[in-house]
Structures are given as C-alpha cells and as structure tokens.
Symmetry: C2
Subunit: 459 residues, 2 copies
C-alpha cells in the first residue's frame, strides 16, 4: 500500500484544491433559489467521479434533486462495496455570524472553513481521492466499487429510499460504507454502529367549534388546552419515562460493546447540563445513565404545542382547539407502525369526554439502525482505525436517526459501516463550519487501507 | 308619573333620531385611527347631557380617552344616584359580514341596527331621555342624579378605576345604577346581581438555553413542553375541578335567590353543547350543574399555550421554553392576591427538577361583584320591572366579569344595580349588532318609574 499512500501524500494540495472547488458551489437543497447551483454541483460531482477513474458515471433524475451513481466493477470474484455520501449542504444562515464567506473556503490553523465542508463534502471527497490514487498508480481497484451520492440529505432525503428501491439491482453490493456520519468526539476514535429510528405525529384536540368567552362559558365549556395537556402529561411518568402501553415491548437488547463503551467514556453529566444551559437536576443522574438514555432508550418528545391565544397580553378566551407535535426515537426492535398504533390507542383512551381527537402521522418514519456486531468488515474497519489513530475506536450508538442504514438494509439486504472523518464538533448546521485537514489526511490513508483489506477477502 | 311617560311616548321619534346620531359616530376605543371620532363622541355626549338639563357637565381628561361627568343635584335631603355607561364601541370588523353599514343606523322589524347600539349607546340613551323628560315636563328631578360615562370600556377600562378613585368625593352617591350590562335571555326578565372576578397570569418554563436536536439530546435533555403540560395537568382533576390548594377556601356562599333561579330556568345542557358545537359529554351533566359551574364556581382556564415548533410539518427539536396564559374567574370571597399566591405555590411545587419557572401576573385583577340581596333599591327595581314586563325578574349571576361593580364598591362604598335594557342575543361584539326598540320604549318607562320610586324614600 505504500504506492497508494505516497501518491496521496504527494498530491494532497491538489486534493484540497478539488475540495475547495466543491465547497464553492452553494448546493443548498432546501431552498429553491439554489436549484441551478444544485444542478451544477451534481454535474461537478459526476465529473469528479469520471476523473477519479469510474468508467460508468450517471446523473440519476428523481422527483427532487438528482443523485449520482458511479460504478467501477471489473474485478471478478471480488466483493462489491457501495459508498454513500451527499453533495447538498445546509443553508448558510445566519450569514452575519460567519467569519468568512460560507462559499469561499478558507484554511486557518489546518482547518478548512466552508459550508458543507464537514457535512459532507470533505468526508465524501476522501474515498473519491482514494479511488483516484488507485486509478493513477495501479489503473485498477482491489475490489468492485459503486458510489451513490444524493442531493437531498439536508432536506430529509424525501426521494432517496424510493431511488434505492427502484435501482436495487444496479446498486446490489456486499456492504455499504457511508462517507456521511461523524465521529462522536474529537478526542476519542469511535465507530457508530447503531442509531435510533424515528416516527412523527401531530395530535389535535377540538372542543367547541370556535373560541368562547372565558367569562360567560368558563367552567361549563370544554377547554382544548386542558384536555391536551392532560393527555400529553399521561404519556410519561414523573421521571420522564414513556408509559405508553406496549411502547418498547418489542425492543431488543443492545450490542454489549455499546453498553461497555458507555461505561468506559466517563460521560460527565454535570458538564452536559452546563453545556446545554439547563439547571443541573438534583440529584444529578450519573453520566452512564444519561448516555444510556441518549443512545439506548426510546423517546417520546413533544416538539411543539399551540392553542388559544399566544400573543402579547391577555385574551380571555377558552380555546376550541389545541395541537402538539410528537416525535419518537426508536431503538432496535421497535416497529414504527406498532409505535404509532400504541400511541394512538393511548391518546384515544386518554381523551376526556366532550372532545374530538385527530392524529396525523407525518411520513413513514424509520426503524432504528444497528449493525451486526460480528460483521467481519466492521472489525477490519476498526483495525484500520486503530493503526492510524493509535487507539481502538469505541463502538458507539447515536441518539439521532440515520435513515440510510435502514434503507440499505431493507432494499439491498446489507449492513452499512459509517466510516466518516467528520467530527461532531465541526459546526455543521451552524456558522463557521470547518473540517480538520488532519482528518482529511488520516481519512485518505484509512479508506485506502480499508479498501485494500476488503480486497484481501474480509467480506 | 303619567306626565313623564306621556312626554316620552310623544317624543319617541326624536329620541330615536338622537340615538341614531349617537350611533353614527364611530367611537372605536381600541384603535388609534378613531381617536378624533372618540373626541367628537365625547363632545356629542356632553352636549346631549346639557340639552337633557344637567346644569353641570364636564369632559374629564384621563391618560386615555376622556370620561364625561354630568351633575344635577339640587334636591335637598333627597338621595343621590350615579348613573354609569360608556360611549365607546367595539371595532366593527369583519365589515363584510354586516348587512348594512355599521355606522349608518337602520331600523328593520322594530330593531335598530348599528355598531354599539346595544352596547351601550341605546341603553345609555334611556336614562338621558328620561332626565330630558323630567326637565321638559317638570323642570326638576325627584332625586339627585350624577352621571359618569367612560370612553374605554371596550378596551378594558384601563383608566376608569383611577378616575373614580381620584374623583371619589365628586362622585359620592347612595347607589350606582349601571346602564351597561345585559338581560340574560330575551324571553326571561332578569337582574344581574353577581358577576365573577378575574386574575390573569402567564407561566413560562425554561429548560436548556436553546432548542436542541431531538435525536442527539432526546431522553437526556429537559423538554419544556413536557414539564409545562405536566404542571398544567396537575391543576385540575379528571372532572375539570380546580385542585390548587387553597384556591376557593375563602369563597362565600352565593345569594340563595341565584341558586333558586338556576333551578327555575331549566337550563338545557344538551342544547348548550350543541350550540357551542362541542360533542355532548356522556353522561351529560344536568343543566343545573352546568349553569352552577358558569355562575357560581371559580374557574382556572388555560387561554393559550405555546412552545417549540408549531409551523407546517415536522421539526425534530426539543423545545427550550414553553409558556401558557391562565385566567381565573373568581367568586365572592376569593381575593385576587391570594389566588395568585396559591397558584404560584402550586406551580413552584409542581416544577420538575432541571427547569426554571417564571410567573408574570397581568394586571391587578378584580374581585367578584355581588349585590346585597336585601338592598331596598334592588327590590324597587325588581318591582318596576315586574310591572312593565309582566313577570318578576329572576336574580341571575354572570360568569363574566363586570369590574365596575367592584370599582364602585371599593372607591365609593356603594352597591351597583345593573338596569340595562340590552339583551345578550343582540350581537354586540359581532356583526349586525342591534337593539330592540321595544326595549328602548320599556326601558324609558322603567327608568322613569325607578327614579320616581327612589325619590319616594326607598334608598
């Protein structure tokens, strides 16, 4: 592998220039004002893949922004990996909080600052640069590689699952490796091997057909806020645990490696509350308990509530309607449909007399993602990271939802390894997003070695 | 009294023309765009009092819109009454729902249609016309009469209590008679002898210092909506009864006449729920229970709630803050300060660990109003109504708050009789407000006789 690693070192400056050019394209997927920039970025990405050596590159149209598929599959009997990433970025607002222009990349202290550089243009560029190296140095790959790069990740990937399903034969592979994701902490190598799923609901309660005067009708008329708050309050116990019947009945046990990681990392509960600016509860929960709640417990969170008059001053009104938005994070074994059914049953039973209830499900949701702890490729990836970063990565879970893990499992029947060199402190989704150039360098070596190792039969 | 009643009958057309002129003035107090109209209406009102025969009439400046005071007090040893009314009106919106122009009065089916005609320009014109009759026919009054007419009632009377307190010597009297208020039902003569008081609060709960990602932080971070809904849900029992310690401990027993009235009126609970467009609870409460809740029980109503994201679609956020608006209707014996203290104590105790709480009181509030059931003038008023309307009026309470009863009791030390000929079905505060001309005629006879009777020593 010295040949590949040397080439990558020698051509690092050009790789950084290519990344800067990628970052100059304002590929904001959520704002229609940027749709021509999105198209230009898709074309740039396709061109980058072609120059890297992929013999087949195609821009795939969807009902939203296009995806790009690259294929270089000419090693008979070798395994096939599918690399995932996205070329779209978050909006750069608030612009006034940026120290430099978000689409004019700047290097400072060995960090590259630009919108999207950490999420996901930098991490995605790494395997493309590695393929370039194999192409330039050897003219061939040790394994078969497919790439799919989408343009709607920052908009919730509304068409991605459909695209994967439609193209499942073309995307068939032995393993997905995602260039998206993030190391949990800058000071601690980690591999994300589980993430929580998601379902979203909206609950509306209606009493009278219009708001009523709180003097004339107070005491006799239904108050939709009173009903709704009562119903919502019945969904947790005093400790904040979800008490909806059947909510987590089908949940399975977590990977023991994650439980051990939680114990090992000495999560600082007091610092956590200080960081988010909330009063420390008394008694303070242990860091282990807190991190277990984040990674390994399902949640039922109220994301928004509204009803009646919320303007300035007083309005003596009895609200006819009130509504709340709920999302649940699911753990392995929980089925979105079943969770929605259990919540619906709970709310219907909790609805007081004299009101009507409407529950709307928002989207299909997604199951939790969890990787088989014994997957050989996972152990190969951990070995590679151990060599480069100096200590064995922790297997960590993630409270948030990475829908692609479940999408690839469902439609392609394979696991997904998250092999991103982004770090969660790099202010993606915030002003002054940056990417560590040390991660860029380490990442290229790591991806090169991983591809090499997978070619030796570890799949 | 034949002389006065005859004169009123002969000059009825002119009285209606004067009322129409009054109604042409768009005296909307809440909208600064109408401030010059408010001023013109105050001058019109003062001029009307002068023409009616009041020797002393003055426009009283306040920090808001002016009040008008009229005085005709030259009967030695006779009692003095103070008549209350207001010259301002509600905004006419939505204009498109009016069948005629709101400030161009129209008579149809013996009803006069105009904004403010029922609340309170018609009912207020009645005693002024009656004084005119005494002035024209006899040149003197049987009792001493003062009048105070304010211009901010439809804006919550922000300066009225202060004005009464400042001018309490000048306004000194034996009894207040209000030309504002309303008969409860068109088919049932009634006298309002009690109304509920009011306090208003705003409650805010804060967890973290900003909204957090519901994936990354879900389960470990405080959720302000979860805390607030839990706290609000602890304030009522399943039956909707307030369970705040000490809430109604100091409440006194209601006038037995009101309890009897509630039993007598056969309030139709099913029709009530149908009218407000709410599902009928099962089992349906009795009409007696329902009306008792409206008139004789204190309330704690949630008027508004907000927190987190309430726009379209889903936002996976853990809300840092949530707030609710609360108003309570109070019954006789409950003190606003005490009620606020009890609610505050309850909420502080219900606040979960890990949150901060802010409670803001909105305004001083007002105590309930209740008239001494044995007040001789009340019985005189009831006798007068019995003669004219053919049946003895029921003594009713009112769920809403009439702050003036408490203001006059506090600053002048006297009771207030509500002797208005408005009826609660006359669409005041709504499009197509009207006033029955039969009420105008009956009202003039009733006020003339009441003034005459009070002059005979019933005070």
């Amino acid at each position: 592998m010295k040949d590949i690693e040397n080439w990558l070192g020698v051509h690092e400056k050009e790789a950084i220039e290519r990344l800067k050019a990628f970052c100059r394209l304002p590929s904001v997927s959520t704002d229609p004002a940027f749709s021509s920039d999105i198209r230009r970025t898709a074309e740039f990405t396709a061109s980058h893949l072609k120059k890297a050596g992929f013999p087949s590159v195609e821009i795939i149209e969807t009902e939203g922004h296009p995806s790009i598929i690259g294929e270089w599959c000419d090693v008979p009997d070798a395994p096939t990996i599918l690399i995932y990433g996205h070329y779209d970025v978050q909006p750069p607002d608030p612009l006034e909080k940026w120290n430099s222009s978000p689409f004019e990349p700047v290097i400072c202290d060995d960090r590259l600052y630009a919108r999207g550089v950490s999420d996901d243009k930098g991490p995605l560029s790494i395997p493309i640069e590695v393929v370039t190296a194999f192409h330039e140095v050897r003219g061939e790959l040790p394994i078969n590689i497919k790439v799919i790069i989408e343009g709607e990740e920052e908009s919730g990937s509304p068409h991605f699952a459909g695209t994967v399903e439609r193209l499942k034969d073309r995307l068939a592979c032995d393993l997905v490796i995602s260039a998206d994701g993030a190391m949990w902490r800058a000071d601690l190598p980690s591999m994300t091997v589980a993430s929580r799923g998601l379902v979203a609901l909206e609950v509306s309660v209606q009493g009278a057909h219009k708001d009523l005067h709180s003097g004339r009708h107070g005491g006799s008329a239904p108050n939709a806020i009173r009903a709704l708050t009562r119903m919502l309050a019945s969904m947790h116990d005093d400790g904040g645990n979800v008490v909806v019947d059947g909510f987590a009945d089908t949940a399975t046990s977590p990977d023991p490696a994650i439980v051990k990681a939680i114990e090992d990392v000495n999560f600082d509960a007091g610092k956590y509350f200080d960081d988010i600016g909330a009063p420390r509860p008394d008694p303070l929960p242990s860091g282990t308990d807190l991190l277990t709640l984040q990674w390994l417990h399902p949640t039922l969170e109220f994301n928004g509530i509204s009803g009646g008059y919320s303007g300035v001053g007083t309005k003596t009104v009895i609200p006819s309607g009130a509504s709340a938005k709920i999302t649940c994070r699911l753990i392995a074994g929980q089925k979105p449909d079943q969770v929605v059914a259990n919540i619906t049953r709970h709310l219907v039973a909790a609805l007081p007399q004299g009101y009507t209830l409407d529950i709307t499900r928002r989207g299909p949701g997604s199951e939790a993602f969890s990787l088989d702890p014994a997957l050989p490729a996972l152990i190969v990836a951990e070995d590679v990271l151990t060599d480069i970063l100096g200590s064995r990565p922790l297997r960590v879970a993630m409270g948030a939802t990475i829908p692609i893990g479940a999408v690839f499992a469902r439609h392609l029947g394979v696991g997904t390894i998250f092999f991103s060199f982004s770090t969660s402190d790099e202010d993606y989704h915030a002003p002054n997003e940056f990417f560590r150039l040390s991660s860029f360098r380490n990442g290229m070596i790591a991806w090169a070695r991983l591809i090499d190792q997978l070619g030796k039969g570890f799949l």
